[in-house]
């Protein structure tokens, strides 16, 4: 999907360097955005009376070079990667799924239900079933928004946002009521059966096999989106739903399916939090992964492999934040500011890039998101 935007750009002569230049053009805006956000973050740290060098040093040293810190980075990266892949699939089809947060909650609930029941199943059946339960719950939750868009013409942006709040309160109710651990000091569920645990991967840390699940899905998605009929269908609906309809592609059905897939991946992130990390369902267990994912997907410009790197970066920020707060005396909320600003800067840098290339059409065309993404134009069927 990035190809069309490069057509008008200056082409260097030889084949290899041409490709390298293309990649550079694609990677430049996100890198510039992240750089600018880190720079503003440094400014904020100075305002807070701390040294950015000490703070960033502590953050990245902790999260990337220490054993426990890196394990923590992987733990944080896992849900981020999965939800972001979901948001990305939606964007490829022109759908803004802003409901990742709610779908994470529903996914966690789905996995909890399967994990608590079916005690005594062997792990090779129970674990996949529990993961599937999370996917189904998350997928169904997002499919509501997809269905409302296709059948009633409701823009998915607002419905997914509202569904977030409903899901979060619903899960709160579940762990306070039907699934409350008897005698628990704070609202959480009982432990899921051990046969539904996602195995740990680094001894003495919380890192779990969910990361491999995320990486595998990123690779599978790359192949599916770039070289299968379904991937073609998704891109076609995202680029031009009217043309897609003339090509006999069932646009409405594709949108609902994509939303379900997108929510399913977010649900899987919730499953990982329950089955891999806590082994229980907690109230308010997601610290905003669903919103980080939107930033990650936008920075990754439609490319699942880029999502891996961007999710790693965001995971790094989250994992090192506490150590940074302790050693440099900067409130860890500075990373929220940095994350939020990356979205602002990616939008600006892409816009500037388009202007530099003197392309008058809308900025998002094939560069950030498909052209019709999120505009309230009705779905043609």
């Amino acid at each position: 999907m990035n190809q069309p935007s490069i057509e008008n750009r200056p082409r260097p002569p030889s084949g290899f360097s041409q490709q390298a230049m293309q990649w550079l053009w694609i990677a430049l805006p996100p890198l510039a955005a992240i750089g600018a956000a880190l720079l503003v973050g440094a400014g904020l740290m100075v305002v807070a009376g701390a040294s950015p060098i000490v703070a960033y040093g502590a953050l990245f040293r902790e999260s990337l070079t220490t054993y426990y810190g890196f394990a923590n980075t992987l733990t944080k990266m896992t849900p981020l990667l999965l939800v972001s892949l979901g948001v990305l699939v939606g964007l490829r089809a022109g759908q803004f799924n802003l409901g990742g947060e709610g779908q994470i909650y529903m996914g966690g609930l789905g996995s909890l239900i399967v994990g608590l029941n079916f005690q005594g199943l062997p792990m090779w059946i129970h674990l996949p079933l529990a993961l599937l339960g999370g996917m189904l719950f998350g997928g169904a939750w997002a499919a509501i928004a997809g269905y409302l868009k296709v059948a009633r013409g409701l823009n998915e942006v607002l419905t997914t946002l509202l569904l977030n709040y409903i899901a979060q309160h619903f899960v709160s109710y579940m762990v306070n009521g039907p699934f409350k651990e008897p005698g628990a000091p704070s609202p959480f569920s009982p432990l899921v059966a051990e046969s539904a645990f996602l195995p740990g991967i680094l001894p003495k840390t919380q890192a779990h096999a969910g990361i491999f699940l995320g990486l595998a899905i990123a690779l599978i998605l790359t192949v599916v989106l770039s070289s299968t009929p379904f991937g073609y269908q998704v891109d076609m609906v995202g680029q031009n739903p009217i043309a897609a309809r003339y090509a006999n592609i069932p646009v409405g059905k594709t949108i609902v399916m994509v939303m379900a897939l997108s929510g399913g991946l977010a649900g899987l992130a919730g499953s990982c939090e329950v089955l891999g990390l806590k082994h229980r369902l907690f109230e308010n267990f997601s610290p905003g992964y669903g919103f980080d994912a939107i930033a990650i997907a936008l920075l990754s410009r439609g490319n699942p492999i880029a999502v891996i790197l961007t999710a790693l970066f965001f995971g790094t920020l989250r994992s090192g934040a506490n150590v940074m707060q302790r050693s440099a005396n900067v409130p860890f909320t500075v990373i929220y500011a940095i994350q939020g600003l990356t979205v602002l800067f990616i939008a600006i840098s892409l816009a500037l890039l388009e202007f530099r290339n003197k392309r008058s059409p809308v900025v998002e065309a094939a560069s950030l998101t498909p052209p019709n993404a999120g505009t309230p134009a009705s779905v043609p069927d």
Binding site: R152, L158, T159, L162, Y165, H169, S172, T333, V363
Partner: protein, 308 residues
């Protein structure tokens, strides 16, 4: 009898308190969207207003300075949204999202620095009883509100009149519906959109200041809690008409107030279901209105003189 009466009075007053921020934000959204600029950044603008008003009110000890700061800073956020959408022609959804995420992050960071001990009580905007009317036995409470409530009540009819019966309103609607025609007629599409989105920011600033200085009395991270999104739902339910939009806000505000009352009365419904009530109401309202509410024709589409 008396108890029921106080209950009703409390309920009406609580509904008003919860409606006011929604209504200011929704009217701001109305301005922005009538000019053709989609604005899911309402949430971030309200949050910015709440933070700016808290910070300045705390530093100066004067709630009015807080209000002015909220209007100024949120207008600046509006300016950013306008620049991104109008000049840079960024996808308007992405721009709104960027504003929400950046506002959430920046206010969370600055709050930790300014209010290190957590919540700090702020100077409040005090109620302004209307002479004579406030001493009416039961209805008196309705006339003992603060100036922002009266301001809203004045703003709605005036806004409605301006929108539908003034050349200013005509320009706004023309730019939002047929920017090409408006441009041909000599209107500057960019200017109309800039001014609308900046005013939208200002109104959201008032919403945030009301939230922080009147309703809650302190600042907490993420205190806008989806109010911007509910305001957007109200805008759609109110079909981009100021009066209907304000009524839709009243509906959501009253729903929110109801869930608080039910909780207080200890009626046997899990409180989480009550907490989700405003969002469920907004969602159901959207489903109900689906297909009947037509947005401004050019909503979400950047305008360029050169393109066809």
């Amino acid at each position: 009898m008396d108890a029921q009466f106080t209950f009703l009075q409390d309920y009406v007053l609580a509904s008003i308190r919860l409606t006011v921020p929604l209504a200011y934000a929704a009217l701001g959204g109305l301005l922005s969207e009538r000019s053709g600029v989609l604005n899911i950044g309402l949430e971030g603008m309200v949050l910015t207003g709440a933070f700016a008003s808290s910070a300045v009110a705390l530093m100066t000890g004067n709630a009015w300075y807080g209000l002015i700061a909220a209007i100024a800073i949120s207008s600046l956020v509006g300016l950013v949204h306008a620049a991104l959408c109008v000049n840079l022609r960024v996808n308007q959804l992405v721009s709104g999202l960027a504003i929400n995420l950046a506002a959430a992050g920046l206010t969370a960071f600055c709050a930790r620095i300014l209010f290190p001990s957590g919540t700090v009580a702020l100077p409040k905007i005090n109620p302004l009883p209307i002479p004579l009317l406030h001493s009416i036995p039961v209805l008196g409470a309705l006339f003992t509100q603060d100036i922002l409530v009266y301001g809203l009540l004045i703003l709605i009819p005036i806004g409605s009149y301006l929108l539908f019966h003034s050349s200013w309103g005509l320009a706004l609607r023309a730019v939002g519906n047929y920017p090409r025609a408006a441009d041909t007629a000599g209107l500057s599409v960019s200017w109309v959109r800039y001014i609308s989105v900046i005013l939208c920011g200002a109104l959201c600033g008032i919403a945030g200041a009301y939230l922080a200085l009147v309703h809650v009395g302190f600042f907490t991270e993420g205190m806008s809690a989806g109010k911007g999104f509910i305001a957007l739902a109200a805008l759609i339910l109110g079909r981009w008409n100021p009066v209907y939009t304000a009524l839709a806000c009243l509906l959501f505000g009253a729903t929110d107030a109801l869930q608080l009352r039910i909780q207080a009365f200890g009626i046997d419904i899990p409180y989480q279901f009550l907490l989700m009530l405003p969002y469920v109401a907004a969602l159901l309202a959207l489903i109900g209105i689906a297909g009947k509410a037509t947005p401004p024709a050019a909503l979400g589409l950047p305008y360029s003189k050169e393109s066809k």
